[in-house]
């Protein structure tokens, strides 16, 4: 067997692929954060809690109404997105012109409330969500066994990520969004309803988080605290990519998944820390992140 640093090459291929799949989750989550920060300048610390809500919502829909996975994949993000719209409309908007740090504190408080309420209802042991019938089983790639569901995760995540990027960077709606953040007054003068645009954007960012949550439900234990530790990792991804950079968030998410995957082979203890090491190095060399514009 061919070896690299004492690890069989075949194992390494497998780890790279798995890293990429994890990276797809990071990409989805950090994309939502980047969209929200880029357009609203809100540091959304509730993102992890909203991701959890997406997964939990899918479980509840299945257990109470028998809603299947494919419907939940759309319905759950829509429901959580509506919840997000309420959050923006009634809470976040009130501090829109204050310092960023207040949005951080406010969303952190919201996250504590959401997680606390659901912990009291559902406990912390977690709930199970079955893998949809059509995606059970897997394929032997020679170097590893790849469950179909993981393959689906990466396809779905990448499609959504690049769809979002296309919408923001290449369509008319996207250009309104970008212009609205550059100069809201001017846009308003052109007859565009900027506050509505902002609300919808927040809702969309939240939907992305909830979508990631539904994708995660069948493979991770669904519990009210599932998003709590993910949050700072995803934040690190956004910062490394460059705050507000859409493409930066997606590519960094995928890249960090791979780096983390490799660390799990060579120095597993450090696999949850390596991302912060990368962040220090990147910010030293490129102060605004990999894809960020220097202020």
């Amino acid at each position: 067997m061919t070896m690299l640093f004492g690890v069989p090459l075949a194992v390494l291929y497998g780890q790279l692929l798995l890293g990429l799949i994890n990276g797809a989750f990071y990409a989805l989550l950090s994309l939502g954060l980047a969209v929200i920060f880029g357009l609203l300048k809100i540091i959304n610390f509730a993102h992890g809690a909203l991701y959890m809500l997406g997964a939990l919502c899918a479980v509840v829909l299945l257990n109470t109404l028998g809603v299947n996975y494919w419907v939940a994949l759309i319905l759950s993000p829509v429901l959580v997105g509506i919840f997000g719209i309420f959050l923006e409309r009634f809470l976040l908007r009130r501090i829109a012109h204050e310092d960023h740090i207040y949005s951080l504190l406010l969303t952190f408080g919201i996250a504590l409330v959401i997680q606390g309420v659901f912990t009291n209802i559902y406990g912390v042991s977690g709930m199970r969500y079955p893998i949809p019938e059509a995606l059970r089983g897997g394929v032997n790639l020679g170097f590893m066994f790849l469950p179909y569901y993981r393959a689906w995760v990466i396809v779905a995540a990448l499609v959504v990520c690049f769809g979002t990027w296309f919408m923001i960077e290449k369509t008319k709606l996207g250009s309104y969004l970008r212009a609205g953040t550059e100069n809201a007054k001017l846009m308003q003068a052109f007859g565009i309803n900027v506050p509505l645009l902002v609300t919808l954007t927040y809702g969309f960012g939240v939907m992305l988080a909830a979508f990631a949550g539904v994708l995660a439900a069948p493979i991770y234990s669904v519990s009210p605290v599932m998003g709590a530790n993910l949050l700072i990792v995803v934040f690190a991804v956004v910062v490394i990519g460059g705050m507000g950079s859409i493409i930066g968030a997606v590519l960094t998410g995928l890249g960090m998944g791979i780096i983390e995957g490799l660390t799990k082979v060579f120095y597993p203890e450090a696999s949850s820390t390596v991302i912060f090491l990368v962040m220090v190095v990147v910010l030293l060399l490129r102060p605004a992140g990999l894809f960020g514009k220097e202020a």
Binding site: I43, L91, R94, I95, E98, H100, I101, Y102, L105, L106, F108, G109, I110, A111, L112, V113, I114, Q115, G116, V117, T119, N120, I232, F235, A236, V239, M243, E269, A270, T273, F276, L277, M279, V280, L283, L284, P287, A288, G289, A295
Partner: protein, 331 residues
Amino acid sequence: MSQSLSSVAVHNVGLEQQRRSDRRRLIFQLVLLALALAAPFVIYPVFLMKVLCFALFAVAFNLLLGYVGLLSFGHAAFLSTGGYTTGYLLTTYSGLTPELGILAGTATATMLGLVFGLIAIRRQGIYFAMITLALAQLVFFFYVQSDFTRGEDGLHGIPRGNLFGVISLQDNLSMYYFVLAIFVLGFALVQRTINSPFGYVLKAIKENEARTTSLGYNTDHYKLVAFVISAALAGLAGSVKTIVFQLASLTDAHWHMSGEVVLMTLLGGVGTLLGPVIGAAFVVSLEHQLAQGPLGDWVNVILGGIFVICVLAFRAGIVGEVQKFMKKNFN
């Protein structure tokens, strides 16, 4: 000639006002000190010591956020470094007196602050917050992996020892007055710093860094010094806390701790001297009360709710809002 005279007069009036408000503040602080001296006879001293440790931590943090405008999200690293150093030394070398242990802990945290500062100080806003967070995570990893911290179990049974080798700190009351003395020293240091020419430059950096640079100040240098002072005081708070509770654990190194000090400071009032003290007292008592009350399992919900309300309604924090109210009604 007359012009310059009148400006001197104006200057004198300003000085007079300044002096009067200084005197008022001094009296106010003496009253507070008297209250603090009497407090352990009414309130459980260990609880008071916990409040004082976190208050010192928050005061240190506020020096950066409130007076330089730098949001550090990695202050847990200094708190825990102070704690672990002191704890490790006092358990390993039985002859060591507590004040030496505290000095060593503070010194180590200061060095770490210098390292953090040199790396982070050139970054601004959210990037500064994130790079301090990243560095603190690396420190956390180091403590998880090191044997001397005993990992998740933590260091236990750290002796309180005899202050200067003479005064036993085993008694809660003498321990309390020792902690109070340290807190007053730390608080005075911060007050002195922000009311010195050095502090005025810091405030100028907060208002407009570019202009301060154009006035010929090396702003990075000023920011670095402020960062190191803040780290040192945070380390001091950690060292003292370790002796009070006789343990050092990973809780202090976790990023939640960095978040907690932000909350204390914001709740109390950023950029006010007393704000972080009140904020720390508020958060510590709230957590204490809630954890023991019938609403034990709703702690997080209630805390979260309070933060939401504070941000929406009392953004200036407790002390900030009181100051606003006083200004409106009594001036």
